[in-house]
């Protein structure tokens, strides 16, 4: 069977706000791209499910907000920008840590609080960082002004970079976001605001939290688009469109990605007290991002069943390997307790739990 090297797909037209035209309604997917997206989304999916398992075994503790269901967003966005661009998101951040250059091993070891973690075990699930990736932020909405600030620096430094600034439907009601919209627009900051609307802010559905659930319009004077967040090609094309908008100096733009999370808000939320199992099942069977991509590629001879199966096997092994590392790597050394309080600072003394305990901190 001969496999085609690329295919042109029709994608859903985006709803537009204060825009004359939107992203193209057709997207070209090459075989390499398809396989790469598939692999990355599978890694993300398997990684989150493994984290679920480890959390239930109490090897991961504290807060753990899983991303399964929303893979098309993270992978699609990254496909529309460059690694030299910047990105910031809230606490449902494992997927973005991966797309921004973190390895599965580092991410999992951070979740289990070991020294091999991407933040040396000191940050945990909500505080993972990488180059041009500013976390991982625990305070809802606070990352939005931060993202605009990164965009300000981009404009200031004139390197034609932009910042993708993500937040959820729950966070969309935070005041600081509107303050940010105003300043980003006034100063024409190269910032793509992306609202990942997964229909629920913890246990509160969008109707109960927002007077207007048209999140792509909430920026008022900022142009916006509403995108099918379960279709990776839609997300990619919309992101490319938005990136062009920013890079041409037109200022910020808002994208609303309509997506869905299979897990509850966090591992302590079963996720079924405010939504039905039927709803979750329906999304899983009709709109799963990975299945959609797989079907597209198989139906159009872009990949063979065996190829994809092989990728699955490799992914499974990679996750097992990472989990093994994450559970056997030792915890951070006690000497590291007080380090990294400051940057570029001579060593300082830190008070311990009582006046006789004097600890050392290096930058």
């Amino acid at each position: 069977m001969r496999l085609v090297s690329e295919f042109k797909f029709f994608i859903v037209k985006c709803d537009l706000h204060k825009l004359e035209e939107g992203p193209p309604v057709q997207a070209v997917l090459t075989r390499e791209e398809g396989l790469q997206y598939y692999r990355t989304m599978q890694i993300m999916r398997r990684m989150e499910l493994k984290a679920d398992q480890l959390y239930k075994q109490k090897i991961i503790r504290g807060f753990c907000h899983l991303y399964d269901g929303q893979e098309a967003c993270a992978v699609g966005i990254e496909a529309g920008i460059n690694l030299t661009d910047h990105l910031i998101t809230a606490y449902r951040a494992h997927g973005y840590t991966l797309t921004r250059g973190g390895t599965v091993r580092e991410i999992m070891a951070e979740l289990t609080g070991r020294r091999g973690g991407i933040a040396k075990g000191k940050g945990g699930s909500m505080h993972m960082y990488a180059k041009n990736f500013y976390g991982g932020n625990g305070i809802v909405g606070a990352q939005v002004p931060l993202g605009a600030g990164v965009a300000l620096a981009c404009k200031y430094q004139g390197k034609n970079e932009l910042c993708v600034c993500l937040y959820g439907d729950g966070a969309a009601n935070q005041g600081q976001i509107f303050e940010t919209y105003n300043m980003a627009s006034l100063w024409k900051l190269p910032c793509i605001f992306i609202c990942e609307n997964n229909r629920y802010g913890m246990g509160t559905s969008v109707e109960r939290a927002a007077a207007s659930t048209d999140y792509y319009k909430r920026g008022d004077f900022i142009p916006g688009l509403r995108v099918d967040g379960m279709d990776i090609l839609c997300v990619r094309e919309a992101t490319k469109f938005a990136a062009d908008h920013c890079r041409s100096g037109k200022g910020p733009i808002i994208m609303e990605l309509q997506t869905y999370r299979y897990h509850g808000h966090s591992m302590s939320d079963p996720g079924i007290s405010y939504r039905t199992r039927e709803e979750i099942q329906e999304v899983r069977s009709k709109s799963d991002p990975i299945s959609m991509l797989k079907d597209r590629m198989l139906n159009n001879n872009m990949a063979s069943v065996e190829e994809l199966k092989e990728i699955d096997v490799e992914v499974r092994k990679e996750i097992e390997d990472a989990a093994q590392f994450a559970t056997t790597d030792p915890e951070p050394p006690l000497e590291d307790l007080c380090n990294h309080i400051f940057h570029n600072e001579p060593p300082l003394e830190v008070r311990g739990t009582n006046p006789w305990v004097k600890l050392k901190s290096v930058s």
């Binding site: 504290g62 625990g138 305070i139 009601n173 939290a209 007080c338 309080i341």
Partner: protein, 426 residues
């Protein structure tokens, strides 16, 4: 429909569980039989085997089968029946004081105050239909509905301001912050709008509001979710700040806070929510309040004073139990209120013990312990100190995530014991 738990009814009328009473009766009789002369027919009955075959199916339990289980439950052995007085004492089932978790205590306090005063209402994230992020407001929305229990969007500055405005206009809101870390988003409303208004209006405008929520370190929630705000809120005139430790504290202080005509910050603790404590009958009454501004001596002692608030009070009591075995008697004071600070109780204790240690979960600089040190130094108790006051505090760093680092970032019982021995020159 009012829900009154069985334990509460039993507690009020001081009646034990029937099953426990029946067990005591069985064991009492058993002991009596054993103490009779040999050959007493009752004794022969204990070990008797009936002739013939047993029926099919599950074997019937005989008296001895049941008594064996009873003895295991109570923790006695057959040989101990010889000593009648001791046997009676060991098998006696005591009526148990009602055990209430801190979560339920807070829940009941809010329920009772909502019922008592129509102006009281609760607002916050997930407090209504989700039953509360930590289930503290479980059942309240079902009972009181949308008007009294309000789910807010994630807009702390906004809803805190709304709550303060409602208080100014005559209502008595309870504003819940999912954790006090998020109160930083709204702190301007708490301080500038709530705390200072009565003063700025020369008494014309009261703000009878309660801000409550979990404060301080939890388990594995990392830096942005683990800060203790006792020092920050305790710093501001116009605010009252309370920090309950056990269930009785939680009930009494929350009720007082709701009934108080001034802004009160109630600093709860997530790790304490699930802990159960005995609550006295008096503590369960609907009008039970604990005065704001009064500390409690949880454990009397002569050698050293340990002053603490919230979860650390439990640590102090544990440390005191360990030290008691070495003959060191610690007096443990539960502050209960951060502002106004009950200095008199601390001073009276220092006059007795001559040694003072403060224990808190928060950071040392400008903290609760630092304030206590200053106040003691400024007052009459200073002359009674045989050694400088010691502050046991959290380590001066943002809270790390990894377990081994987190465990070493907050005071452990061994830190308290170490400090006691240091101050007593041991």
């Amino acid at each position: 429909m009012d829900k009154i738990r069985n334990e509460q009814i039993r507690g009020t009328v001081k009646v034990e569980q029937f099953g426990d009473k029946a067990r005591e009766a069985r064991l009492r009789w058993f002991g009596r039989v054993l103490r009779r002369n040999r050959g007493y027919i009752g004794q022969r009955m204990l070990e008797m085997e009936l002739p013939g075959r047993r029926r099919r199916g599950r074997p019937q339990r005989r008296f001895m089968d049941v008594v064996k289980v009873d003895m295991e439950m109570v923790g006695v052995k057959v040989e101990e029946a010889v000593d009648r007085a001791r046997w009676r004492q060991m098998i006696h089932c005591d009526f148990q004081l009602l055990q209430v978790t801190v979560r339920d205590a807070l829940n009941q306090a809010m329920d009772e105050e909502l019922e008592r005063d129509e102006r009281v209402f609760l607002l916050g994230e997930e407090v209504a239909q989700y039953d509360g992020a930590y289930k503290v407001s479980r059942g309240l929305w079902k009972k009181y509905g949308d008007k009294r229990i309000i789910d807010t969007p994630i807009s702390e500055m906004g809803f805190a301001g709304i709550a303060v405005g409602a208080a100014m206009a005559g209502l008595r809101p309870i504003c819940e912050f999912m954790t006090f870390n998020f109160s930083m988003q709204a702190i301007d409303q708490v301080i500038n709008s709530a705390a200072k208004t009565c003063y700025m209006s020369a008494g014309l405008q009261a703000v009878p509001i309660v801000f409550r929520g979990p404060n301080g370190a939890s388990a594995g929630v990392a830096a942005q979710h683990s800060q203790c705000f006792a020092a920050w809120y305790g710093h501001c005139p116009g605010l009252k700040v309370v920090s309950p430790w056990n269930s009785e504290d939680a009930r009494g202080l929350l009720k007082s806070a709701i009934r108080d005509d001034n802004p009160v910050v109630v600093l709860e603790n997530e790790l304490m929510y699930g802990v159960a404590f005995e609550v006295s009958e008096q503590g369960l009454s609907k009008d039970f309040t604990i005065p704001i501004g009064k500390a409690k001596v949880e454990r009397p002692g002569n050698h050293v004073t340990l002053v603490s608030h919230s979860r650390m009070v439990g640590h102090c009591l544990d440390a005191a139990a360990v030290l008691a075995k070495e003959g060191i008697e610690c007096e443990v004071i539960n502050l209960r209120t951060i502002r106004p600070l009950d200095v008199e109780t601390i001073e009276a204790s220092v006059v007795k013990t001559n040694h003072l240690i403060t224990v808190e979960g928060g950071w040392p600089q400008f903290g609760v312990g630092a304030e206590i040190c200053a106040r003691i130094m400024e007052g009459p108790a200073f002359n009674y100190l045989d050694a400088p006051v010691i502050r046991v505090t959290g380590v001066d760093i943002p809270m790390p995530y990894a377990k081994i680092l987190e465990d070493n970032s907050t005071p452990q019982i061994k830190d308290i014991i170490f400090s006691v021995k240091k101050t007593l020159n041991m």
